[in-house]
Subunit: 679 residues, 2 copies
């Protein structure tokens, strides 16, 4: 066998290796250890390196896109040397995800060119009024209107509570004031303009807005500077309604009880207040400096928020009171921002395709797409839209809250301390986890508290790929006989992988049936084992099956095949960093080239943000709602059949998931010829 | 002397009389007694008869218009027979005024051709909705809008409280409902339409409105059928704020005290509620079937009603918070009608020329007059407008509440039991009174409780004309030495004149100085003497002087002489039946031909009624407010001088009141040649 010279950059360490040597082996010999959470099976993609020059052969590039390969990326554990080569080892930080926690301030870029004067309905005008004299004895309001007229504000409507203070405020401010004015709204596009607040002096720089997404499980919000258009901060919290039911159906039932509707309204408002208070405090503003809010959310959530009884949403023929609520005042809806701020709920189209989806269609650009696009928002419900700029059809399927970390024993929201990614060693079945936390923390400092949606999805995929559970989601007896196996796998992010040495069984009989232990009590922040139970797996399976069935039936209903879909946009609680491979592996997403799939995060709050900023965007979301056609799955006999077929990993029909079938074999230790040749 | 035959109709009794016989003497001889409250001095006009044929000579026709004389009217006490004649004695009921009390239901004619569909902003639509199905799963609101679209209602705005009940109401009504909708208002002439109420079945016939006038002293309201336009009933009550100050200035001061503003607001709202409740009960409707209200009143009253601090109204340069308040909801202003009913306050133009005056200008037709017209509203303040369809100037003068019966020892509002007219016998100084009551009551049944504005005015005029008080308003010593004089004068209306016999002095020293006794304790409903004191007279003098000074200065300010005024319209608390002669005699109104003077009653509530009915009328009152120019009397040095000159009866410059000078001589017993010749 020929010997070749390998050069590792940026350290410029060189090494002589024989043809066919795996890059990971060479690196180990050179003392350059890479993290290999999956145990060198080419599944986690964490060992990606860049081949700057020379000749290598990639046995598998399953974690890499075509563009990645073109850029020279190779998986060190799956790539053998065939000639002299120079290999760049990327800095680990660069392939770490940018970690998001509720405590880290995050600025969201303004999504389009923003001109406050042109786009914004709520603006501040700093004006100096003429003082009254016997010769100029106009009333206070006319005086204010006179000062505002050159700014394009005429026939100002002043709500009574503000009118009652008008005289005193003008005089105390010595006739120099800042008027916060709502020029118009979508219901009254020609005005009249309405005074929201009158402040002494020039305070025209501090006009804030809130874009709010009310999820069944999670409430998210952006704090937006309405002058610059920038979303300066975001925050999220579990919807306090969860204690009264985990999905919309149980909430609707609870709302029908005596006092239930009022209680659910108070609970969600308390959550919103909590989120907004956090944002206000972090950014040193007062809640009543928030002069405008847009709200997205599914129809049930918006009904509960507005105090509308949702009862008819649950009963055939599934009717909402209103899909497109009129703007209201914050004081009317009980929102703790400026009491006269307009609160505008975005439009939904049906009981189960709400404003979160129209907002998502706006934020994702779906409604302007040329290509046939499938959009899915995975929250407690899964809502799916198929179409392009010419037509849109939508349906909904009840996924349950599992993917939001709720309804799962050790589930939690995707915040600091959540296990967000899991790899399982195919041989030892030992997990490597990544915990959401501060990348600056010393490794191992941050102990996990639970598992968030993306972690659950990854864990299920890994358990399936490594053969710990079977296609039906059942734990396989004897699959994890190999206890106390190979040495430590490099820790990633925060908590490291388990150390070497003899271990108790990862798969065991727990209080609720069989379960897999992801982290032992002495490794966790809670002092208790973090596990995934059979019941949890069943919940996850039902969730993913409902969504996949939704895809199938929706596409079928308009005569489209899933393989014709050119783009798949995934929104929702998973966040932006969901592992697409694993989502396909469990059969949640259709098996298609990964570059066609984009993960967009919370498009509902993003759409609310866009509508908050601009009249045009607000009009656009209204147009989307009018254009979108709702398909009622419960009226479609094929749905249940499609759901049942999808209750397997990845699906009863394995031919729909060709790439998964390949990896699954690999994961179960069925080595391919190259691997066999290597030994 | 020649003898003539007199025939009296309708009895056809005949009598032979000599030339020069007074008709009253002839009637007495024929056993036909007429009431002669003034003692036969030609001042009361109550002895008017119609000369159907023959020849008579009228010594005085001062109580008759030229048209009356043309029609044959003559005063029996002032007319002598010169040839055979036929005399018609009118039925007494026909010259009795139509008595108004709060207990009598009065329908006000619709003031213009009214077409609810064309004119009215608040209408009821009875509609049947399509029931939802899986194939037609539109939301409830869209379903309602679909049903209303053929009626011209689109983009319906549904206030949140109603939206919260929308679903249940539609279903309980089995999808057949009556929608009460406000199509637009002056602030939003293009809508969007707003749902006020949604009722089961067809209730489109019961849509009510209220036209309200908030006076400083009296609150008046009409209950209006918005379908037919008819004002089916009216009611009035003292403004409960009176206990916190009798004029606007003392109210403003009270409002500045801690809690004062809120208290005054509650007080006036309680009065409105009392008045409306009375109207509702009498007409068998509920208060929440009143779906619209318009409110007129002076600027201070509207500020207090709306909860706007009126402080700056009192202080130079006299600035209101707002002259033209925006429409609000009944629930916002605390009005006890339907909570979502629009409450529209009419526009004022200045601190002391408020919506009562623009309403009056609308109701009186002043703003469309060709002739130079003087309009005066005599309430607690006197507001005066001069102009025609091309221009309008206005001013205000503080008259005090005397003419509304407040601030006067025995004053009361013009309701049942109030003395509304007084005549004093020039010889005996004994009074004859007319009391507001039911004309159907047996004579003498109704005892007086006090004196209302018109009664006070009449009493002052009579005291002056009969020489009981002098030009300065002081009681003249010895003027009523003749105690226990001639026999009874015929009773009029209710309580009759005092009987024959010896009497105590009508003028006496009372607890508060000199006073005149109008009714003795044993004749009154209260068991106490009803008197007019020197202090009362001073109050009345100041009130009338302020108003006359206002006329003078306003006319002077635009270079017009009062004699050029072609019409004088008198509105306000006096009601429609004020005695014009007596108003001129005390110098309240300018001395001009009586036919140019019209008494209009409460034009403020009438204007509110017109604005309640029609968009056009509402636009018109807005245009009036924009056209009217306010003259600030306090900035005019000539006002105080004019006021001082007017502090006499009728005025220091007697040449301004030529007709009064003539009667005054007559009243003091200075017989003219004819009377001398008669004896």
């Amino acid at each position: 066998m020929a010997t070749h010279t390998l050069t590792f950059r940026p350290t410029n360490k060189t090494l002589a290796v024989q043809t066919g040597t795996l890059i990971t082996e060479a690196m180990h010999e050179a003392g350059l250890d890479l993290v290999q959470p999956c145990g060198g099976q080419g599944r986690c993609g964490r060992c990606a390196v860049i081949v700057e020059s020379g000749s290598v052969r990639r046995r598998s590039a399953i974690r890499l896109t075509a563009a990645d390969v073109d850029a020279g990326y190779a998986l060190a554990c799956q790539t053998v040397v065939e000639d002299d080569a120079t290999i760049l080892i990327p800095e680990q930080e660069k392939i770490e995800r940018r970690l998001i926690t509720d405590k880290s301030v995050r600025a969201v870029g303004v999504p389009f060119p923003y001109d406050c004067a042109r786009d914004q309905t709520v603006q501040a005008f700093s004006v100096a009024l003429d003082e009254p004299t016997l010769d100029d004895a106009a009333d206070d309001l006319s005086r204010l209107e006179r000062a505002l007229a050159p700014r394009g504000i005429r026939n100002l409507d002043v709500p009574l509570p503000l009118m009652r203070e008008l005289g005193e405020r003008l005089r105390q401010a010595n006739w120099h004031v800042t008027a916060i004015v709502e020029a118009d709204d979508w219901c009254s596009p020609d005005g009249p303009p309405r005074l929201i607040e009158l402040l002494p002096g020039d305070q025209s720089g501090a006009v804030w807005g809130a874009a709010i997404d009310i999820g069944t499980t999670t409430v998210s919000a952006y704090l937006v500077n309405l002058v610059t258009g920038e979303a300066v901060d975001s925050a999220a919290e579990y919807n306090a309604q969860i204690t009264r039911g985990e999905d919309v159906i149980s909430r609707i039932i609870y709302a029908s009880k005596d006092g239930g509707l009022g209680e659910l309204g108070r609970l969600v408002r308390s959550t919103i207040t909590e989120v907004l208070t956090r944002l206000a405090q972090r950014n040193h503003i007062e809640l009543n400096q928030i002069f405008k809010a847009t709200v997205a959310g599914n129809s049930t959530m918006l009904h509960l928020f507005l105090g509308l009884p949702p009862g008819s949403i649950r009963l055939t023929p599934y009717i909402t009171t209103v899909n497109h609520p009129r703007p209201a005042l914050a004081s009317e809806v009980g929102l703790d921002i400026h009491p006269l701020a307009p609160v505008d709920c975005l439009p939904g189209i049906a009981s189960y395709v709400g404003a979160d989806i129209t907002a998502g269609a706006l934020a994702s650009g779906l409604s302007e797409a040329d290509a046939l696009t499938l959009f899915i928002d995975v929250g407690t419900n899964g809502e799916i839209v198929l179409g392009n700029k010419d037509w849109l059809v939508a349906c909904a399927c009840s996924a349950g809250p599992a993917f939001e970390g709720a309804g799962v024993v050790c589930g939690m929201r995707a915040t600091r301390g959540a296990i967000e990614e899991v790899w399982i060693n195919g041989t030892t079945c030992e997990p490597t986890i990544r915990v959401i936390g501060d990348v600056q923390s010393p490794k191992g400092d941050l102990r996990p508290r639970g598992i968030c949606g993306s972690g659950l999805l990854a864990l299920l995929a890994e358990l399936f790929i490594t053969g710990v559970v079977d296609k039906g989601g059942n734990f396989v007896a004897g699959a994890v006989g190999a206890v106390g196996a190979v040495g430590a796998v490099g820790a990633v992010g925060a908590v490291g992988a388990v150390g070497a040495g003899l271990r108790p069984a990862r798969v065991r009989e727990g209080d609720h049936g069989m379960e897999y232990v992801v982290a032992w009590a002495n490794e966790t922040a809670t002092g208790r084992d973090i596990v995934l139970t059979k019941v949890d797996i069943d919940n996850l399976m039902r969730a993913k099956a409902a969504i996949y069935a939704g895809f199938s039936v929706l596409a079928h209903s308009v005569g489209v095949d899933l393989v014709d879909v050119q783009r798949l946009l995934v929104a929702g609680a998973f966040g932006k960093y969901i592992n697409v491979e694993k989502a396909v592996q469990i059969g949640l997403l259709p098996d298609m080239p990964w570059e066609r799939i984009s993960f967009l995060g919370n498009t509902s709050v993003m759409g609310a943000y866009m509508a908050l900023l601009s009249r045009d965007a607000r009009r656009q979301v209204k147009a989307i709602a009018e254009k979108m056609t709702y398909i009622e799955l419960s009226a479609d006999n094929t749905f249940y059949e499609a759901f049942t077929s999808a209750l397997f990993l990845p699906h009863t029909d394995a031919s729909r998931f060709p790439t998964v079938a390949a990896v699954w074999g690999n994961g179960r230790g069925e080595h391919d010829s190259d691997q066999a040749a290597r030994t």
